[in-house]
């Protein structure tokens, strides 16, 4: 009986903790944060964007990154469509682009028209190399947008 009570308490606590948040103000924010397994690594990169905007049946895709002491940044941008099954996303045909810049900033913007109805997102993979040869890879997904 006691064991069941403990299990019930654990499940209740788990449900509560899925929306457990703590606010932090700008003046007192510290750099610590708690586990989020979806976060990429930020060693060379200082900022990164992956944005999607749907206008009618046209998708506007944006991938942008800024780094420090970077010798080269390569960005691979892919428009993906949700398959409808579990968490499977498929790459849209003809909607993958790449750009490489030998400097500390890169920007890649593209459009894809005549999209069929569904849910889309942009996947941006940034490969950064600093002047010492150290590399890092960031993968960032945009918010999902719907084509009606």
């Amino acid at each position: 009986m006691r064991f069941r009570q403990i299990i019930a308490s654990a499940l209740t606590a788990a449900c509560l903790c899925t929306c457990f948040t703590t606010t932090v103000s700008a003046k007192t924010v510290s750099t610590f944060s708690i586990v989020n397994s979806a976060s990429p690594l930020y060693d060379i990169a200082r900022s990164a964007y992956s944005e999607l905007n749907i206008v009618g049946t046209k998708a506007e895709c944006k991938s942008q990154a800024f780094a420090v002491n970077a010798a080269k940044i390569t960005v691979e941008q892919t428009l993906q469509k949700y398959s409808g099954w579990f968490w499977i996303w498929n790459d849209v045909d003809g909607a993958s682009w790449t750009r490489t810049e030998n400097r500390s900033s890169v920007r890649l913007s593209n459009t894809k028209s005549d999209l069929t109805s569904g849910t889309y997102r942009v996947k941006s993979v940034f490969k950064l190399t600093d002047k010492n040869g150290k590399t890092e890879t960031l993968t960032i997904y945009s918010d999902e947008q719907n084509v009606p």
């Binding site: 308490s9 788990a14 903790c17 924010v29 930020y42 900022s47 964007y49 944005e51 420090v68 400097r103």
Partner: protein, 236 residues
Amino acid sequence: MNERDFKDILAEICAEEIAELNMFPPFKPSLRHRLTMKRIFALYEKKTHITASNPPIVLTPQSRHLPSSKRLIILFVVIICAALLTGFMLVYFSKNFQGTVYNDNTQLFAVNTENCPTTIEYEYYLSDLPDGFEIVEHDSLSFDVYTLYKNELSGHIITLSQCTKNNFSPHYNTEKHNFEEININGHTGLCIDFSDNKHNSSIVVWDNGDYILEISGDLPKKELLYLAESAKVLEN
């Protein structure tokens, strides 16, 4: 000694021994003990084939109630463990921005998005560039404008980004750096200074009411703040 005295003495000794027994705390079997006993009894029942004529030996366990303080402690520990297991987020708040704080980066979002343009209706430019910087790239989408300035001699770059509020959601490196609230021409913004002994680098982002503007560059924070204040609307 007569029989009566002997009986009194015996009764006294019994009473003392019973009193000693009552001083012992009640037996509290551990979980392992209970599970083991449960297994033994189950095996016993199987072997002896309990029938109506041979009823099983039933031991009623002592009813145990946990004190409320112990229950609270257990609940507290369970909540902490569940929180650590499921993971929880730090949410960042500033006057015009809200964000999600991750391990090594913070994703910012704009607040106050009501009645704001959803497309770029006018563009900004930097009116007081440092010497040697020229435009090398200019790109735009319906919701976003990007201008890259570069000093060919030093190789330093400055980028100016203008974005509609609904499409603003960048990730900023906050692993070893903090946001600092700043004011750009009466608008509240945020600044991160990545400068160290070897490199100057910083980012300034602010909400001008209609759009989110961001300047990033290989410059120290003070120079970038001055550039941000020099941003003006490009007249066609």
